[in-house]
Amino acid sequence: MGEDAESPKINHTFLRDYVTEADVISTVEFNQTGDLLATGDKGGRVVIFQRETESKGESEEVGETGDSGEYNVYSTFQSHEPDFDYLKSLEIEEKINKIRWLPQQNAAHFLLSTNDKTIKLWKVSERDKRPEGYNLKDEEGRLKDISTITSLQVPVLKPTDLMVEVRPRRVFSNGHTYHVNSISVNSDGETYLSADDLRINMWHLGITDRSFNIVDIKPANMEDLTEVITAAEFHPHHCHLFVYSSSKGTLRLCDMRSSALCDRHTKLFEEPEDPGSRSFFSEIISSVSDVKFSHSGRYLLTRDYLTAKVWDLNMDKGPVETYQVHEYLRSKLCSLYENDCIFDKFECVWNSSDSVIMTGAYNSFFRMFDRETGRGVTLEAWRESSKPRAVLRTRRVYSGGKRRRGDVGVDSLDFTKKILHMAWHPSENIIAIAATNNLYIFQDRVNPETQLQ
């Protein structure tokens, strides 16, 4: 299967109409080089894909890098198991909420994976040699009869089939009362943060029995609760800065140098509410579901139910850019509330040069916005229209005006096919899109280094 370039990496079992709940992908993340791609699912499993390197001869052309290969399964392991909190009589789901890779320091790779309560550090290492020629044991490991040994030999390392070993190195437990929604590795390479609904903790990667609480928004009286933390991330370059988003649509930039407890923000980013668009659901749709720093560290990208917004760290009065992801849903909020879709949490990502942003939608659609032109494009992650090597065609949702062939009506959108999780390769135009239990990887072959359009 690896040799055949045409063989698809996506599941083509058309006979399987149902989706096992446990197979639903819940997070996708590239490592810092983009060679590895990890996915976590609802069943607590992590699958790591590795990019194959093509032979140099055929692909060394102008503008194209050496390895433009496919991603194949590298390793699979069970990260979290279903757990039980005996004190509260609550089940703890094994669903992987987030995966974050550590920067690579040696031959091994490290990643953090978290469910609702516990964060784990995993070491992923390769073994492609094994010692052979033991004196006291035979090839199968059985002890030899000493009397048969007539000479001594030095065991030598012989190459074997590649084995990928994944071992848990740290388990960071009992740090959170509420459900963990984010983890973020600090640029200092030593610490990371984990955020739940009301608190953010900072951990040292080497210390599991202790963490520092750096944000606590729990009110003295829970009846006074008005907002929760929805996402948090460290600044890509400044190890003292982090941002967290709230359910009220605000962003708070915090500087850990100012005080031990960062309850008081350094900067508050908030857009004044438009009174004309107020509805029953204004609070729900303004809740920020994801926040991401740009690679440059200058901008923030946020996603709420209907829009994606770019904020300039130097301006807290409002976003500098607002992109309508699926404005046609604004009039359907009531039915989306009834079928629970209004609570869906979409992620958003930057491309490597921070010139394009991407986020998901319904009906297996996802949207890309070019920041320079302000134009958006709708693409589809669906196996029927995505044969290997086929060019992704743009789609359109018809919501009035001239209807073109191929347009999809708002009422025929499939709200069960939601693109919530996605990742963009750190340096190339390769994107990974999770569509329920399928993973789609799209690559820009023509111009891998330039914008995807």
Binding site: L90, V228, E273
Partner: protein
Amino acid sequence: MGGALSHDADVMEVTAEAKRIMVVALGKLYSSRTQRGGLRLHRSLLLTMVMKSARDMYHAAQETEWAAAEEQQPPTEEPTGAQIELQEGKPLTSPGNEVENSPTMLRRDADNKENMSPPRPTQHSRKRRGKAAVEPDFLPCKKAKLEQKNVPQQLILSTVLLCEYMNCSSEVGAPPAPMPVQRAIAAC
């Protein structure tokens, strides 16, 4: 007259929608208790907020006659005060039905006491409907009583919300309103 009727229909629509939203929110809150993984705080908070704003909207829609009168006047507290005052002793002058169905008649200043008499039947009917339509059976009935006690506060706030709903060019925006209401409701 036609304007008044369509306005009335809008109010009915808002009331029905608010009621449906509240019921759905309650259903979701109750079913989330048995969900695997425990109560999701974020979701529960959002549902509670939706329920509260639907509830406010519902009560606000029920005070349509008063809001219509106040639309003309900037100070919202005054007419409310007058209404409370009048609860005591004013006899039911103009037939309650007529007043409810034609709010145009009520667009007068607060001094006009005939205008203000409907509070009694309206309030009475609001309380009745509140129990049967809004509150499901399993909720303790002290909630209805508490609403009545908080009437002055709620009236002020609900008037504000309705004004805003009807797109009056009022300076009072959405943000200030929910906060005090939440405290009132949290006390329930």
